[in-house]
Amino acid sequence: MSTPIWPAVLGRFEWRDLPLVRAWQQPTINELIGAGAGAIVIIGAVALVVLLTVTGRWRWLWSEWLTSLDHKKIGIMYVVIAFIMLSRALIEANLMRLQQASAIEAPGIVAPAHFAELFSTHGSIMIFFMAMPFLTGVMNYLVPLQIGARDVAFPLLNAIGLWLTGAGAALMMISLVIGRFSTGGWSGYPPYTEIEFNPGVGPDYWIWAVTLGSIASTIAGINIAVTIYKMRCPGMHLMRMQMFCWTSLCTAILMVFAMPPLTVATALLALDRYLGFHFFTNALGGNMMNYANLFWMFGHPEVYIVILPAFGIWSEVVSTFSSKELYGYVSLVIATMVIAALSFTVWLHHFFTMGQSPSINAAFGIATMAIGVPTGVKIYNWIWTMFRGEVRFTVPMLYALAFMMTFVLGGLTGIILAFPPLDYVVHNTTFLVAHFHNMLIPGTLYGMIAAYTFWFPKAFGFRLDEHWGRIACACWVIGFYLAFMPLYVLGAAGMARRTQAVMEPAYRPWLYAAELGAVILFCGLVALFVQLRVSIRSRDANRVAAGDPWDGRGLEWSVSAPPPEYNFAHLPHVEQRYAFYDDKRKHAPYARPPHYQAITMPKNSAVAPILGIAGAATSFALVWYMWWLAILGLLTIVATVITRSFARDIERVIPADEVARTNDAWLEAVALTRPVPRELETGRANQGLAKVRA
């Protein structure tokens, strides 16, 4: 440390930045928790490396997954990232609940700064590295299959988006091992996050992780929108698409227009912190209100980015498990579009109390209430879809029902918050925390888990265990109510959010209930992992190779499970909405196509991994002022992009007889499969062929 070479190489890094060193020097519970978290990350990474080496899977991982441009594999990798990050952020949520339950007129277990890190990482991860990768992954997997396409419009760009998301997530994990994360909350408000008040690495970790995620989401949005506009199979008019494609389209448009404000907000904050600009500082004409506006111009459309894909998922799930056509397709399309448009007109309700005139607050309050109308339309649509349907209470359907009940409650408290005078009373309390969890957990999280359960057989060829799925669902629902209903009470009683210690003994029973709820939510996550393990073990008994375990409607169910790399041996031609469902009833959906053709698919590429690693390295270097590494990383990125533009040999051809062989084998297997009636669909009789009543 004494030689001047080290600051040039390691920037502002010091040994005390390692939580393990801090815990060694000062073994308090607080530091031990930090060191434990860092140790888990290190042990997890080492265990993964050892496992891959022992099983000799490095080459397989590289060529089958990491460099693959197959939209299905990219989608699955997105969901894997989401589950890893969900686990971490849920553990953090449990720590926070434990802290508040144990810190009633007592110091509790974590120090104030550590508590602030916990709520900052929890929020940042759940939004940017859980919800976003999960929904992007599901869209990636499903959209090309549902519109009858063989791939997305820009396969390489798709992989780059994945890797930038992974880079951001990696930066979040590294912040556990080296240094500290921001204490400025998931929204990172300056001037608190400015260099004057926060000279450490924390806000810089936040800035670069979020920026990577933001750029990745912009890329994903462009890709999905272009895929839907340009790659639909013959006859797939916009109004014949599955509802999930419509909500994906709106989400993609929102991503293209709503992520740039976030990029601007983080970039300007970085200019303030790194180069001494005065965008949001207290002195010399800086104005933090610009940040509040920029951030929430992203932040509010973001709410709909995370909810709209789930609305599409509910539409598919409710219709399939009611054996009825989706009620009011056109009204749902219109409602989705209206939500997408209105989502840009309400951002100011996130800061009613920050000094606008009452008439401005009133205008935004009215806009906020207006957006509840199209959302209400959707709830009625799903209820009418179930009405007189053949409703089966499968796991995704249970989530759907829990969602409808819970989401309406959250919507009602949202209407309360949309009144500026009422918002003044409960703003910045746990009432708000309860409200947005009440929207995001049933809306996004239940939706994503339902999608995972519903389409898992399509992606992997076998069904998930029903029993453990129900246990997980019960935990997620009961846990939610126990964890968040008390927060409404506490918020109405005036308990401020983000409180490290509580001085009011009357809060005790409510905080204990919330703590119990958090534990049950964690059990829900554990149950999901148990379900996965049980399902993999008993996979041979639950195979659905024919590909249609739920008597589905969309084109994704018309191919084998898992689908071939090219999705469709013969590109479908559709003549109506729900063409596959109708085919099953009136025609022969599993007929051999008259002839097969060679199919051109993109070759694997190492470009995306290189860009992802270089992006992570550049960001890490910027956090720690390791300028040489930042420059090296940037040059690598530029050189890689230019080199790639010279590549001409980027496609490979799958010969027609290979396509024929694969498809004919599948068709033969389908011919031998016994169709399953709906009442037996969750049992082992289900081999993925639906029995159709005439």
Partner: protein, 208 residues
């Protein structure tokens, strides 16, 4: 002309290369989406600039810093470069000699580099007066907006060098064509942004 033939602006191959024209539809549409997203970034920076205009903190003001002469020359350079890029695109479309496409691209590149030179000179003069971005909120907003456009022009110039190299290596193949169309959209987009900068940053600043 059916609906499927209705092309996007910038899709300028027409009947000269129907095959590439068909593929280019999706590619160019994707680039349009990117440009819209980039336009949002510029729009927000314009708005930030507008809000922060009074925040001079007793330091330099627009009137004391902007000069009509150099900015007018910059405008002429960039607008002319859009014309010359258009000539390059026409040469490519009508299958002229590769040399002619390259020549127009070189002219465009020279104009772009000259623009950057003038702009750098403007900035150094401002620095000489003590008008650094760290001086006030107004100057931060100025240096957040105008150099970002300059950075885009720099990237455009780099891209043009890459395309000139590819023209030598590959000739005018389908991917070179599509990338030249994309670069064209990018270049004209920067022109439009500059017109906005000239007419909402420089001109009102001088009239005050």
């Amino acid at each position: 002309m059916s609906v499927g033939d209705a092309a996007h602006a910038g899709l300028n191959l027409g009947d000269t290369d129907r095959e590439t024209n068909a593929v280019a539809g999706g590619d160019l549409f994707g680039f349009w989406m990117f440009l819209m997203s980039d336009a949002v970034i510029f729009a927000l920076l314009f708005a930030t600039y507008g809000v922060m205009l009074p925040a001079t903190a007793g330091g330099p003001t627009p009137a004391s810093e902007y000069k009509i002469g150099p900015t007018f020359i910059e405008t002429l350079l960039l607008l002319t470069s859009s014309l010359t890029y258009g000539m390059a695109a026409l040469a490519m479309k009508h299958g002229a000699l590769r040399v002619r496409t390259s020549a127009w691209l070189v002219v465009t590149l020279v104009l772009g580099v000259m623009f950057l030179g003038f702009e750098m000179h403007d900035f150094t003069e401002m620095f000489a007066h003590g008008a650094y971005p760290t001086r006030s909120g107004y100057l931060s907003a100025f240096f957040g907006l105008v150099p970002l456009h300059g950075l885009h022009v720099l990237i455009g110039c780099l891209w043009m060098v890459v395309m000139l190299t590819q023209l030598r290596v590959f000739g005018i193949d389908a991917r070179v064509k599509i990338n030249l169309l994309r670069l064209g959209l990018f270049w004209h987009f920067l022109d439009i942004v500059w017109i906005a900068i000239f007419s909402t940053v420089y001109l009102p600043g001088l009239m005050r």
